[in-house]
Structure formats: structure tokens, C-alpha cells
Point group: C2
Chain length 342, copies 2
């Protein structure tokens, strides 16, 4: 009991990865039992949850609180992140986003000019994604109680057939819609004052259009956006939830030079940092090539590639195959090595 009392929340508990899995399992899921209104509920720890509709179609509900530091960074700001992050959570569930909520927690003394920039950026992203922000809430905290601004967005979508994280099948191809690590490394270089060295910007973008095109190409079995904890976390989650293995061809994974450069410089793996405009998709081996072709035609998917394959030989494991034939496990990190990135 005393020990329990002394247990405290750590930064890594909120950084995706295994530490957050523990927090969610031992505390949130341990306390909640009334957690489902359809096939996919809180217990599935998917990107959102489903609510069966009486007449075909399934409602998808999701939520995300954004506490990014800094609020403004190369390629975007907390407003763009708040809209795109939630639109993307709906999109990877296979849902067409219908509407968003916007709930602001503002620190006393926050300049209204900065607030206006963030709100304008939310408006731009909501227009780009074609999803209205239909209701909201505003709270103000005394100075010193937080750092400027936190934004929660919840999203409601409608799916013909929701796509879960767990749906992949043996033999499926693993598709990545573009290069990895852009968001995490863009924030990192900015924080470290390295921005002048590269043109690298965050990849934040709404993926609903791209992913509906991908779905129309057919044969998609699972989709997930590799945010906190990067593709190392997401691939392991997909393997764990399906009970299957994934082999990834290292040379097939698209990475920008600027990203690998910063990664080496600061000693952080681009596989473990957040992306905000990318998706991992599994598709049947019959349709995968066609899915990639369709994705490549879209401006957000030009670097799309098949990076690996699903197998039943290595249950719940992700294996990296190097060009020269080397093999190693790609482990789920304890947490995203870059804190406060979304």
C-alpha cells in the first residue's frame, strides 16, 4: 500500500511504447470496466472505438490531447497537429471523418495573437481535411500551471467496415506511405538549434483522402499511424495484436537523408520517433502493389513503398533484414526518445 502510494507517473509513461502500455494496462484498464459500445472498445487500445449503428455503417469515436513543445515548429504548430492527429486516427480506423471537437486549455497571459495563429492553423487544416470543428470548450489556468496551450480534439467518423490494428494475415505485404522520422527529427533539430543545417520540416498532414484512396484499391487488412514511439512501436503493436510476425527489409524503409543525419548526430533511432503524416498499411499480396501505385499518385504518398511482409513463423515479433542478409529484432522502445512531440 505504501509502495503504491509512492509510485509516481514518469515522463516515459506518456511517450508511447512499453512504459505507456503499462500505465494504461495497470491503471486505466484496471479501473475501467464499462468500456465498449461496439466491436472495438477501450480494451482494444486501437486508434479509436466503434459504435454499431442500427442501419449499416459504424460510427468511430476518437480523442487526442496535444501538448507539443514548442507550440510552433518547422512545418506546423499545435493547431495543425490537433486537427490532423485526430483526423488521422479516424482515417486509419477506415472511417470518413464527420466532425471534430476542439477543447482549449490556455495559460493565463498567453498572447491572443499566438492563440489566433493556432486557431487559424486549425481552420486551415480542418478545411484541407474537409472536416468541420463543430463544438468546443475553453478553460484558462493560472500562470505557471502549464506551458501556454494544450488542445484536445475528439473526432467522430463513419466507416462502412472499420479497420482494426489486429487484422493482418500471413502473407500480407506491409506498406509504408512515406519516409519515417520527419516529425520527431524536425522538432528535435529545432529544439537543438540545428534547424539552419537542414530544410527538414514535420510531415504533419491529414491522411483521410490518401487512406480512402488506399482502401478503394482493395485488400487492406490493417492500418495504423506511427506517431509516438514511431514505426518500431506500431509494427510491434500490430504484430502483438494479430499474434503474427513481421519481417521488414531495412533498405526498403524510406528515410530522408536529413533525418538519418540528425538521427546519427543525436543518437536516436528514426524507427522510434513520431510521424504525423504517415501510415503503416497491411494489404493482401494480391492487392499490395496496386495499393502502393494508387498511394504514389497522391501528393502525400509519393514515397510509398512495400517495406515487409507478415508471417506466422515469428509470432508477435518484428524482424529487420539488412541488405547484407543480417537479421535483428526491432524491439518496441520503452517510450519515444523525444518527449512532448504531439
Amino acid at each position: 500500500m505504501n509502495e503504491e502510494k509512492e509510485e509516481k507517473i514518469k515522463i516515459t509513461d506518456g511517450a508511447g511504447g512499453r512504459a505507456m502500455d503499462r500505465l494504461i494496462g495497470d491503471h486505466i484498464l484496471a479501473n475501467f470496466s464499462n468500456v465498449s459500445a461496439g466491436e472495438i472498445g477501450l480494451g482494444e487500445l486501437d486508434d479509436g472505438a466503434t459504435i454499431e449503428k442500427e442501419n449499416g455503417g459504424t460510427l468511430v469515436l476518437t480523442t487526442d490531447s496535444h501538448v507539443v513543445n514548442p507550440l510552433f515548429f518547422p512545418g506546423g504548430d499545435i493547431g495543425k497537429l490537433a486537427v490532423c492527429g485526430t483526423v488521422n486516427d479516424l482515417a486509419v480506423m477506415g472511417a470518413k471523418p464527420l466532425a471534430l471537437t476542439s477543447s482549449l486549455i490556455i495559460e493565463e497571459g498567453f498572447p491572443t495573437s499566438k492563440l489566433d495563429s493556432v486557431l487559424a492553423s486549425m481552420e486551415n487544416s480542418s478545411t484541407e481535411a474537409g472536416v468541420p470543428i463543430i463544438t468546443g470548450d475553453t478553460k484558462v489556468l493560472e500562470k505557471g500551471n502549464m506551458d501556454g496551450l494544450a488542445i484536445n480534439t475528439a473526432g467522430l467518423g463513419l466507416a462502412d467496415k472499420p479497420i482494426s490494428d489486429a487484422g493482418m494475415e500471413p502473407g500480407d505485404k506491409v506498406i509504408l506511405t512515406g519516409s519515417i522520422g520527419d516529425h520527431g527529427m524536425a522538432l528535435m533539430q529545432y529544439r537543438e538549434g540545428l534547424s539552419f543545417k537542414t530544410e527538414l520540416t514535420s510531415d504533419i498532414a491529414p491522411l483521410n483522402d490518401l487512406l480512402s484512396i488506399a482502401q478503394n484499391a482493395g485488400g487492406i487488412t490493417a492500418m495504423k499511424d506511427p506517431t509516438r514511439g514511431g514505426i518500431a512501436t506500431v509494427l510491434n503493436e500490430m504484430a502483438g495484436k494479430s499474434g503474427l510476425g513481421i519481417t521488414v527489409k531495412e533498405e526498403a524503409v524510406p528515410i530522408k537523408e536529413a533525418v538519418s543525419g540528425i538521427a546519427e548526430l543525436i543518437g536516436i533511432s528514426p524507427y522510434e520517433v513520431a510521424n504525423e503524416g504517415k501510415a503503416v498499411i497491411t494489404a493482401s499480396k494480391e492487392t499490395a502493389e496496386g495499393v502502393v501505385e494508387e498511394i504514389k499518385r497522391h501528393s502525400l504518398g509519393t514515397d510509398a513503398a512495400i517495406i515487409g511482409e507478415v508471417n506466422k513463423d515469428w509470432p508477435e515479433k518484428v524482424i529487420m533484414e539488412t541488405e547484407v542478409g543480417g537479421r535483428r529484432f526491432l524491439e518496441e522502445p520503452l517510450g519515444d526518445p523525444i518527449p512532448r512531440i504531439c
Copy 2:
């Protein structure tokens, strides 16, 4: 421009009332244009927004971020508040709550034992209200960035016919489901260390059951829960949105002795502080008595009363009539005089 740059957010901007109306009007509504998916959108500043369904019934979406201080107080905690607040926003829209989201922002170092109490309390309230928490998000901020815990809940509901704030008609009766000021004054006495003097506790409760009973009694034209800014704010909002006037018989307004006692002691009007388990309802003069009778049968409505009447003689005004025949305007406060109450 420079002046704009210097304009900063104030505590009152988040306390309900006129200051928050300005913040929302001049900044949020000024920046957002893509704000509607149905009849009631962001622009209506209602307790939630509507999304038309193709086959009868209307979806209602709402969101609320909770930053109450202290996190634990007489009669409840931030977890109970987070669940009941959002359930009630759906209920006063005339919607049956279908599901909730839960998004936690936790400060590094927050004791997991306290987190567990809050989560257990969310679970209890979600069970009491009969509404599942189906999806969530968890973020952790570095120590010193906020005060312990903030919880956002978004809610999805389904209404046969949504009830807006603006629906009241001349001649309608104004019903209050119970005594005013309990939540705000309970927090205030606790903060001021006066708890020992009274048994006063917050009135936090889920109102979905009570308000569905009220609706079944018929003739309801508008409903609103008087949270931040109290009934002074809510009555003025309802008058403003309908373009009609409200007269309130002061002696008819139920107030607990403990509440008026603390109110006098600290010089704060119970009309201007938050309630978390009460609703203001307008109903046709034919049905109002019956509605009150039905409400009184429910444990959360025993003190329900008709407190006034809607007229067209005083557009957008709220007038208090005292026992001895005195009359004064009940103004909307600049903001709730008690900060951080929800």
C-alpha cells in the same frame, strides 16, 4: 498590431460569463468558418453540436476539459466531474448519451494512487450514468508544467429531437431542477478551510435519467445546465438566444441555508457560481406543472420548482422580482467569481 500582440488571456476569459463570450467571439469564432455538420454547430455556442443522421435521429457531439482545483473536494473529484459534466451536456441537448472518450494530461510525479482514485471515480460515474468510456488518450507533462491532472471528456449522444438553448416561447414556465450554488460554494468553503462549518457538498450528478423523465412529461422547449457563471449566466444566455425576456421570482429559487451562509460570508452571489447537478428547463405553461411533478419523484429533482416565466416584454433581459415587489435586472457576470471550479 502591436496592441494585438500585447493582448493576453486573462483568468476571467475562461470563467464563463461575458469575458469568455468575448474570447470565443473575437478569437475562436472569428478564426473558424468550417463549424457545422447539422442544425446546431459551433456558432450556436450550445452545450454540444448536432450531426444529422440519414435515417431519423440526430447525433449530438460535445466536449469539456476539466481543470478543477482542488482535484478532490466535498462530494466528488475531477473524475466524477469529467464524466457527469459531459453526460449532462448531452442530456440538456435532449440526447441519450451513447459513449464517452477520456483524455488525460498528467503531470510528471503525480501519484498513481491518486490517479487510481480518479479513474475509479470515473468508472463509478460512468456506471451510474450508464454510459461507457470507449476510447482515450494519455499525455504526461514535465513537473511544473501544470497542476497534477487535467481530464478531457468528449461525448456522443443520440436525440430524437435535439433541444437547443434558444427554443423557449413567451408564456413558458422556467423550471429549476434543484437548489443553486452547491458546487461552487462547496469548493469555496473547502478552499477557505470552512468545511467544518457545514455539511455542504457539491451537487455533481449525471442528469441524463432525470432529464429524459422530464422530456417524457412533454412540452419542454429549452434545457441548459448552469455550470460556469451559474444561473445568472445561463438565464441570460437563454434570453439572449431566444430574443425573449425572463422574470424570476426570487423567493421561488431553491437555495440551501449553507449556501446562502457561505455566500454572505465571502460576498459572492449564489446566482453566479457553478452547479454540476442541476438544469434550467423551460416548458409550456400547460405542461410545466406536470414536468415538475415528474422531476420531484426523482432523487436528483426533489427540490425542483418553477422559478419564473418567459415574456416578450423584456427582450434578452432577466428580471428578478423580490417578495415585496421589488424588481432588478439579473445581469450576466463578467465571469464566475470562483475560478477553476470545473
